[in-house]
């Protein structure tokens, strides 16, 4: 079971590049979108991370920061990110493998990969929306934007 609405988002600090870590704590004050996904280098035109890369402008309207997380290593992420021209960080839940994915209930113990799970966390660090997608289905970005929209309405 993935963590649901109303839960405090578990903190973490993971490598975003070969020499820099990002923590959830440092993102407080703005909405955060966490996108756990099984593996870098998946195929199909406009696959999930590629699609989100194209959607950054729309996420930006809500001042939200998008973060991708998988169990791939920081070096793998660096190559994947460069090849797809990604403009958001990919975190390596690599050592010990899957620790953060487990905290969010988004780890597949059989395949030893993160599940395809989405979380929208508000400015205070509370999960306001979560969604678990079947592994083979790219969940798109409509659910994320609906959740961000709702957050921005609540604030007003």
């Amino acid at each position: 079971m993935i963590l649901s609405k109303g839960t405090i988002a578990p903190g973490f600090e993971l490598f975003a590049t070969p020499d820099r870590k990002i923590s959830l704590a440092e993102l407080k004050g703005r909405p955060v979108i966490l996108a756990f996904y099984p593996a870098d280098w998946s195929p199909v035109c406009g696959d999930q991370m590629g699609l989100y890369n194209e959607t950054l402008k729309l996420f930006g309207k809500y001042n939200a920061q998008l973060i991708g997380i998988s169990v791939d290593s920081k070096w793998c992420h660096a190559a994947f990110s460069e090849s797809r021209n990604l403009h958001f960080p990919l975190l390596a839940d690599f050592a010990p493998k899957g620790t953060v994915s487990r905290l969010y209930g988004a780890y597949d113990e059989t395949d030893e990969e993160s599940e395809r799970a989405l979380f929208v966390i508000d400015e205070k660090g509370i999960i306001q929306w979560s969604y678990l997608s079947p592994d083979e289905i790219n969940p798109g970005a409509d659910g994320i934007l609906d959740a961000l929209e709702e957050l921005s309405l609540v604030k007003i």
Binding site: C45, G46, E54, L145
Partner: protein
Amino acid sequence: MSRLKPEVSAADHHQGNVKASIILVEYGDLQCPYCRRAHPLIKRLVKERGNDFQFVFRNFPLREIHPYANAAALAAEAAGKQGKYWEMHDMIYEEQDKLGPDFLLLLAHRIKLDMTKFNSDSKSEELQNKIESDFESGIRSGVNGTPTFYLNGFKLLTYDETYKSLADAIQLESEMKAH
């Protein structure tokens, strides 16, 4: 989840029977190879079943992976300003491997567009905004890759890159409408 929004309007490019109660919408990228593969299927569908449905194309350029997708979308929209949207759209898909800025100009020449108008339209904010708004509507409708089709507002989940999957979907929808 995954319902088309907003609904089809006069601002959309359409083919087939505008009065038909069946509407097939494609979100596509003019530089996407999967969309290129879908293109002849759509052409055939409009030719064979064009009386039964309306086809609408909305722009969903994946700019980070397809460097000419946006320029191609602008070129097609600019041709549309001179009543030749579909001519440009078709040529781009049919010769997609040649895509580039010079090639888009060549195509505009080929269909005898007013080049001064074409050049200014393809840089216009109005057309760029239309492309952005198509893209946003796609994201809000749950598009997760290209091409994505919507049949009467619902995401078509049965498309498998074959003509049959599209023709069957139209057929099923028209049988449902008949009841």
